[in-house]
Structure formats: C-alpha cells, structure tokens
Symmetry: C2
Subunit: 423 residues, 2 copies
Amino acid sequence: MVEKSQTKDMLGRSGLLPVDEALHILLEHLGGIRTASTSIPLTEALDRVVAEPILSPEDLPAQARSTMDGYAVRAADTFGASESMPCYLDITGEVLMGTAPVGEVKKGCCYKIPTGGLLPAGADGVVMLEHSVPIDETMIEIIKGVGPGTNLIQKGEDIARGEVALADGHLLRPQDIGLLAGLGITEVRVTQKVRVGILSTGDEIIAYTENPKPGQIRNINAPALAGVISRAGGVARDYGIVSDQKEIFLPAIRTAIEENDLVLFSGGSSVGVRDLGEQVVEALGPPGILVHGVTLKPGKPVLIGQSGRTPIFGLPGHPVSALVCFDFFVKPAIEQLSGRGTRPKLPGPYIVAGLTRNINSAPGRLDVVRVKMIKEDDSWHAEPVLGKSGSISTLSRSDGYFLIDEDSQGVSENTAVKVYLYT
Amino acid sequence: MVEKSQTKDMLGRSGLLPVDEALHILLEHLGGIRTASTSIPLTEALDRVVAEPILSPEDLPAQARSTMDGYAVRAADTFGASESMPCYLDITGEVLMGTAPVGEVKKGCCYKIPTGGLLPAGADGVVMLEHSVPIDETMIEIIKGVGPGTNLIQKGEDIARGEVALADGHLLRPQDIGLLAGLGITEVRVTQKVRVGILSTGDEIIAYTENPKPGQIRNINAPALAGVISRAGGVARDYGIVSDQKEIFLPAIRTAIEENDLVLFSGGSSVGVRDLGEQVVEALGPPGILVHGVTLKPGKPVLIGQSGRTPIFGLPGHPVSALVCFDFFVKPAIEQLSGRGTRPKLPGPYIVAGLTRNINSAPGRLDVVRVKMIKEDDSWHAEPVLGKSGSISTLSRSDGYFLIDEDSQGVSENTAVKVYLYT
C-alpha cells in the first residue's frame, strides 16, 4: 500500500484534478442534499439560511403614504398650477405621524402632511413643501401642480401581500432581518447549521494543551478549522486525536459521520496516514472517493469522498494547506448543505495591488500565494509571505492571497494582482 | 427650536461635513479610548482583538526539523556529489515521526528521515529522496550533495522564544487561533467586546412584534442595527422605544451611556425628533456634538457626539440611511474602541462590474448607490436598486453598493464601478 501512494507521488500530476473540476464533481454529488429546516425567532436568525420562500403577510405600506413633507391634495385641484398661474387651497387639516388622518380632503382643500404620513381620504397626491407658498395659517399657494400618485408610495407598492420577501436559500444579513421585522415576521424557517466533525490523526500530533516531547507537534489544524467552520456557518465538533490504526480510525470516523453532516480529517504528512485516509474513505462509500489530489499548491493531496449523504474531506496535515483546501472545497460544501446552493454565488471581492517581487509557478497548477498588504506612497502593494514548509508563523503574517492560474508560469514584480483578503 | 432645524435644512449643505472629515473628527476624539482587557480561553477567542502583544513562549521548532522526505546526513560527506560522481552512505538509522531520534549520524552514514522529522544528532543537512538512489537496504547513493542547513528548518527559525507572535490590536482570525495553538497558548488577553446601546424613538414607531395601527410602522432599525453591531464585533443591547419627550428621552440615554461603550439612537424623520437629538447630545457633553450632518446620501442628517468617553450617534430614521451611517461612522468607532485602531486598516475589497444605467449625483456629496449584481455572458453587472424613500424591500434586494464621490455629477451606463459587497 505504501508503494501505491509513493508511486502516485512519483508520477507527479497523474490522477490530479484541476480545482474547478474537483469542485464541480463534489457539488454535483451534493446536489439536492441539505440540512433539515427548523423554525427560530427572528432575533436569532442573523447569518442563517432561509429554508423556504418567505412571503409577505401584508401589504407594505398598508395604506398610501407621502414620500415628502408637503400638502396632501386632490391632484385635479392643482392641474396646470405654475409660478405664473398658481392655485390656492385651504388648509383644512394636518396628518400627524403615527395616527390615522381625521376627516377628508375636500375639493379646493389640502392637509399638511409629513414624510411617511398616511394619505388622508379624498387626497390622491402630495405637493412638496418647496412648491408651495404659505399665504397665512389657513391657505397656501401651489406653484407646481401634481398628478394623481405624485410623491406617494401606494398601498402594497413596496411589497404586496403574498409576494416573496426573501427567497429560499437566502443568507439572512442584518438588512434582511430589518425587512422581516418591518413585515412583522417574528419566526423564520431556516436550515439547520451544518454540523462538521473534525478528526485529527498522525503519530506526531498532540493536543495543543499538552507539552510536546521531542518530535511531537501540537494540533494546529483542529482549532484553526473550528474557526473557519464557524465563519462558514457550520458548527464544529472536535473528535480529538485518533490513532491512525485502521481498526481505531475507521470506527471513529463512522461515528463522526453518523453525528455530523460533513466530516473532516487531517493528518500527519506521512505516507501511511495518506494511505489510511484513502482506504477508509473507500470503505465508507458508496460513493467513496470522489477526488484524490488536485492541481493546487498548497493543498495538492486533498482527498474528497462521500459516505451516503455525508461528504468527507481528508485535508493535508500542513495547516496552511489544510486551510487552503478548506476555502476551496469544504466551505462551498458547507454552503451547499446549508441550502445556499439555490442562490447565485457572487464572486469574491478583492483589492488590486502591485506585487513586490517575482513569483514563479509551475504551469498546470493553481498557486495560492499568500501576501501581506503594504501601503507605500498612498498605494497598496502585495508582498508574498514566504516560509519554509511547516512554518506556522506565515499563517498569521498574511492579510490575504492571490492566485496564479494553471496557464501561467509566474507573475513578475509590479504586476497588479487581485488580492482576496482574509477577514 | 423647530425653526432652527428647519433653517438648517433649508440652507442645504451649510454646516454639513465631508464624510472623511467627519470620520477623522470622530476617530480623533476616540484616540486612546478602548475597552478594558480580559483573559479568555483560546477556544473562545475567534474574532476578538488582542489586548497586548503576544510573545512566543518557546522556540518553534524546538529543534531543527527536516522539510523534506529523504536522508539526514553530515553535509561534508556529500560535498561535490553529482550524478556522474555520486557518493555512498550507510543507512544506520531512521527518524520516526513523533519520537526523538536515537543515536547519532556518524561520518559516512545517514538516517532515513520524513518531512517534519527531527534532525538526528551528528547530521546537519537533508538530502531529498529524489536525489538519492537506493543500493540496498543498508546503503544509498547520493547524486546531489547538500550544504549545512539544506532542507532544514532550524530551531527558532519559525518563531523564536520571546518574539512577537501577534501584535496588540490584531483581530484573531482562524489562522491566528491556529498559530496560538501551535505555540501552546491556551488563554489570550483580549479587549472586551464593545457594548452598544440602541434607543429607538419616534411617534409612529412600534415594536416589530406588535400590530401597527394606521400610521404606525414597525421598528426596523433596532433589529437591523443589532445585526450589524454583532458583525462588527460589538454586543447590542436594545433599550426599546423611548418617548421623544426630552424629560423621558434624556434620562433613558443617560442610563444607556452608563451601561455601554457606545450609544446609538434612531428616530422618526420628524423635525422634532432631530431637534431633540441635538439638544440631548449637547446636554450630555462635554464634548457634546462633534458632527451634525454630512455630505452623504443617504445618511446626511447623522448626528455624532460624545459624552465623556462614550460616542453617541443619532442615526436617521430611514433604515437604509441608518445602515449607511452605521457602515461609515459607527463601525469604525466600534473597531477603534475594541483596540483595532493600533493596526493599519486595510482597504475594503470590491468587485468591478459594469453599471447597467446612468446614475446622476449632485456634486459636493458622496452618494452610496445600492446595486444588485447580475451575471450576463459570463461578466458581472451592477444594477442600481432604486426605490421610493421609505421602501424597505430595497434593503434586501441589494448585494452591495458603489460610491459616487464628491467631485462627480454621476456615472454613465457601462462604466466599470467598484462594488463593495454586503456579506
């Protein structure tokens, strides 16, 4: 078995998939799978995903409202009014905020009305304050006539009763919570958070709370992955460090699959652990292994599989590689399982910055180059954060990354690159 | 008093500050103010702000490690080795992951070593597997010599003991949590979350859980603001809807100031409420009012003040305006109070997209134009989300916004604009 994996590595690219293709295979296998839905109070719904279309329970506004400070009028009374030929209206009432207008605007009359005030009966338009000249307390001169509906928002114009306020799969942002509050919706049906189990393996790995003996290193991946899982909207459950003996590892990962919607394991970089992952994911199928290795640096040895409905990811042991694989594969899978797959995915935002040095890349692979952002002379530069393999300090020295795509052999100094920020 | 505010509005820009200037005044007043620090477990430290520099408690790595699979050698034994003139070494040991190497690499000998394995005594370099040819189980041929230190990461090379691992003011991202775990740091000193009190006022506003009578509208701002506060790293406390009578409003806001690090109030759009805000913030000084009105659309009427160490923001009643003011002023204030002001602020990332229609703008003000992102023919377009004043459905129809700066009178169709996404 060791021979098999070694052979793969010696053969270089053989069997490696391009990142796009690997992601496509993964998401296709997850099509139609998502977590169950649950009803929660609006106050807890931030960053959750809408599980079924939310229809407006009422017309908004419930009645026509003014969009200006001014005078509610019968539009016909003002037709043709201009500075040279104004019309005159009696002020017979006033609309107050928060209360229903009293009475009716009769022909030749008007009511004072504030922005947001309810249109009183009889009126069908609003003359802006700026287009009126007060004569005295009881009369105004109109210097610009209005048509019916002018300076009004009509009943149901904002959202009509029964209209979709938020679609299935929508991520609830603060402004969406505001919208639902405005509609009086106090409970929302959302998908359950994606439960993600994390197993760590590798002879040299110990819990980060322990003191390493010579040759041992602390578990960096589990706590870092818990963070990215939480940011992606999932709930991490740490299964600790599991022996890489198959008879121990396989039952442990089976338990994690039963208790979660998605399972990650990350291991030492030893050939034995890589090989174990492969055997275990195959054993957990169908469908078993979907992707073994991608043309991505770092992150090449990622293993993607599925056991029934549950995706399984074997992440490289190196923390930087593990986090890159998370961003490219695990995060989209969490989003898919949480129901966000039904909405169009927006591209990732970036900053354009000048590269501070030449960076070489092998053609045929996607390079993720981490950078530190540096401001000089009022413009931003991207300085590649280099470090030896296994250097963990590079983890936090970078502000973001840029990509060198499969067709490129590198990027020269001063080239403008798109930097995707770590937030 | 009503006259005073009306006059201000009629005078248009008079007294309005440019956004940059207003923000500068605000942050200057908050200089040196930040929340107290507290010690928390690493597992809870995601998205918190480092309160004092975190020094590495140890050398990392603790001993030199190999960065390659290969053979640990005495470099001098391999000097000048090449394919045409290889050298031969006896394999006298093997380094295993997770354990200290046994014995010493003697002259003319080597140990098998995996990536990450500890360098055994005697050795000072590693020959890559690819540069060796096995002769039998006990001997290899070296076809490329190495110098001392080749393919090694030295003791303390990643982070040396006492070196700053994370600076004061650093926001703890998942990779930073990983770094701290790698250093065995289990408790972190962070700043306390910024407590933000929210008061709502306005005759027409009712709790969103209530049924509006004619003319009443539900409180959208408080739940939407709670969301953006939480995302900015603060903790929102909702003081509910407070009467806009000064003798009730002033004591309520005093209580909120005592119990929070920052206070927001948002009100109806009536002149009375705006005027009340001004009186109250002045009464709560010194320093009192810092900014009253900015050349920003929407968001012009924002009121910024300070009572002792506590910043106070009077946000416009309209939810869209309130959220814009939050992004431009309140969020930077929360970041400053949480201690992030000591770190350089990165620019906001964006997507470049073609505008789908002409948008006019008045020169002399910064316009925030909300857009929906639309994909057509594989490229992204930004479609302005227009809606009448008070239209709340526009809140959730937009994916982000672009800016039309003070010098511009508008942007034409097909212009490439920088869209800042709402995440």
